[in-house]
């Protein structure tokens, strides 16, 4: 038997990991910014409507919560969901369309991009979206005099990590989804209860104990608690656990999402 004539190796160095993540992030930013106004306007006007409707209308009957006027309490809560919703929509419908309809990922992993680059880069992108959405909502509330502390300048940073966290969760969900309608279960079944039971609209401390425990499992509870702490400039060492939760949640679900999506893209 003759020896195999293997091709001679062409020595080459593909871009390093950080650059590959940047290039994926850059792609999403470029495509997203094509429709910046229509993409960005509704999500950050919505909290204003909610605040006006619920805060002014209902707030009249509520009085003080933990010594804070209800409108201030609600405003500090309403900053948190913006990064959750933007990340969740981007990494469910957006990701699914790129995966199944546009075949955008097919093209990207044909270039020198791995599946891990693809989805970690995407999480960085939704983190960036979380940053700017949080910044936008916080700024508007500040203009209306609803944000008492200068520490609120830190909220976009929380928004960034919250965006990554919800990006990871949503990618994980997307990895199971076969038709686009299935996302309704996630959006209505998970995000809506999370919105109401994460201490955003009302404090969870007066709820039955078992709901309080469930609430502690919700990722939104932790990002909302951090953002409220920034808005009022009231920090406690317990917030360390919220940070830890967010980091751990992002890593675990990010890892699961990437490995599941890899099976979907690489057969």
């Amino acid at each position: 038997m003759t020896e195999a004539v293997l091709p001679q190796r062409i020595v080459t160095t593909p871009p390093p990991l950080a650059y590959r993540l940047y290039s994926v992030w850059y792609r999403h930013i470029r495509v997203y910014c094509k429709h910046l106004i229509s993409n960005g306007f509704p999500p950050f006007v919505e909290p204003l409507f909610f605040l006006a409707g619920v805060g002014l209308g209902l707030g009249h009957y509520v009085g003080l919560i933990d010594g804070t006027p209800y409108l201030l309490f609600l405003a500090s809560g309403m900053i948190a969901p913006s990064s959750m919703f933007t990340a969740a929509f981007e990494c469910t419908f957006g990701t699914f369309i790129r995966l199944e309809f546009d075949k955008a990922y097919d093209g990207m992993v044909s270039a020198s991009i791995t599946v891990t680059d693809l989805f970690v880069g995407e999480m960085l992108f939704v983190g960036t979206k979380g940053f700017f959405f949080t910044l936008a909502v916080m700024s508007v509330f500040t203009v209306f005099g609803l944000v008492p502390s200068y520490f609120a300048i830190l909220t976009p940073l929380v928004g960034f990590f919250a965006g990554m966290m919800f990006g990871a969760l949503s990618l994980f969900v997307t990895s199971f989804v076969k038709t686009i309608n299935h996302f309704n279960f996630f959006l209505t079944g998970c995000l809506t209860p999370m919105f109401f039971f994460s201490g955003i609209v009302f404090p969870i401390t007066n709820l039955p104990e078992w709901i309080q425990w469930v609430s502690e499992v919700f990722p939104l509870t932790h990002s909302a608690r951090l953002i409220r702490a920034c808005c009022f400039g009231q920090f406690s060492s317990l917030l360390f656990f919220d940070i830890l939760f967010m980091v751990a949640f992002t890593i675990v679900f990010g890892y699961l999402a990437v490995s599941r999506l890899e099976k979907r893209l690489i057969q």
Partner: protein, 304 residues
């Protein structure tokens, strides 16, 4: 001595119980064009995807896949960095302009801005898209989109170009133009691997090809050599079903379908004798082509 760009031995791939690629072996020389032909579901695309690590081959003993010196199971990133891939479906970013589409891809390969700009102008020129530089993708015709996808695959000056049905659905002008570009690329040392359903495309471009059927290799060789080795020189197609019974087919290999009777022979004159009693519209006498061979070896039944 010719050098290899691709070396594949005993490549096999199952999807569950379905055997998509069955023990395929081939080599592709540098700066040549290699074709994978076969009916739908023959395993062409699966084999191509195995070359770049998009599909992982079964890890049997003795399996070797080596592309430009790398094993796709270990060095997929290096292979994709060196190769340009044109997928079956165009997947351009429809929101972006022609040049932005190329620029985004230049980032994936880490090209510096000035190199990318120069490369983009060159490629738009090469693919005759310079005038459409700022156009949105929606404004492009199918042929232009296809040319852009090919340009995109060339952005990092690949050593290997992999094309999955490059000209399906395109008009003859665009197809011919794309073939010309492929020949030019080959001259500059680019190795090309393509799948196609068009036998004329394979005959035009391929220096070597394999015909696959149900995951297996049936034939391999240069298109013309394959034809002369496996087929007679001429074929007489008789299209009028009413006259089939009157044909004196002795001495010829014959084949009959629902609407046609085909007589294969090496001597033109003897086939012409058969046509003498027939009306002009009842028959068609021509040299055999790759499609005749393809149908002979993969059968005339529909495969999907």
């Amino acid at each position: 001595m010719t050098e290899n760009a691709i070396y594949v031995k005993h490549a096999t791939k199952h999807f569950g119980d379905f055997k998509a690629v069955d023990n395929l072996s081939f080599e592709v020389n540098k700066a040549t064009c290699f074709g994978l032909l076969g009916p739908n579901g023959a395993g062409k695309t699966t084999m191509m995807k195995m070359l770049t690590g998009r599909v992982r081959s079964d890890s049997d003993n003795g399996r070797i896949i080596n592309v430009l010196g790398y094993d796709p199971a270990k060095n997929e990133l290096e292979i994709r960095y060196l190769a340009g891939i044109v997928p079956q479906e165009n997947n351009l970013d429809v929101e972006l302009s022609v040049s932005q589409n190329l620029y985004i891809y230049s980032k994936f390969y880490g090209l510096p801005h000035n190199v990318a700009s120069r490369r983009i102008s060159e490629l738009l020129e090469f693919m005759e898209l310079t005038e459409k530089k700022e156009a949105r993708i929606r404004e492009l015709s199918g042929g232009m989109q296809r040319r852009l996808v090919i340009a995109r695959a060339l952005i990092n000056s690949p050593h290997l170009l992999i094309l999955d049905e490059p000209t399906t659905g395109l008009d003859p002008q665009v197809r011919q133009a794309i073939w010309d570009k492929m020949r030019m690329l080959k001259k500059t040392g680019v190795t090309i691997v393509l799948t196609t359903h068009y036998m004329d495309e394979a005959a035009q471009l391929c220096d070597d090809l394999i015909i696959m059927h149900k995951g297996e290799k049936i034939l391999q060789g240069h298109p013309r050599a394959l034809i002369s080795k496996n087929l007679e020189t001429y074929v007489l197609e008789i299209l009028n079903t009413d006259v089939f019974s009157t044909i004196e087919a002795k001495g010829f290999r014959t084949e009959e379908t629902a609407g046609r009777l085909m007589l294969y022979g090496d001597r033109l004159s003897s086939l012409e004798t058969v046509t003498e009693p027939l009306n002009a519209g009842d028959f068609f006498l021509r040299p055999v082509n790759l499609e005749d061979l393809f149908l002979k070896v993969t059968g005339r039944n529909l495969h999907d």
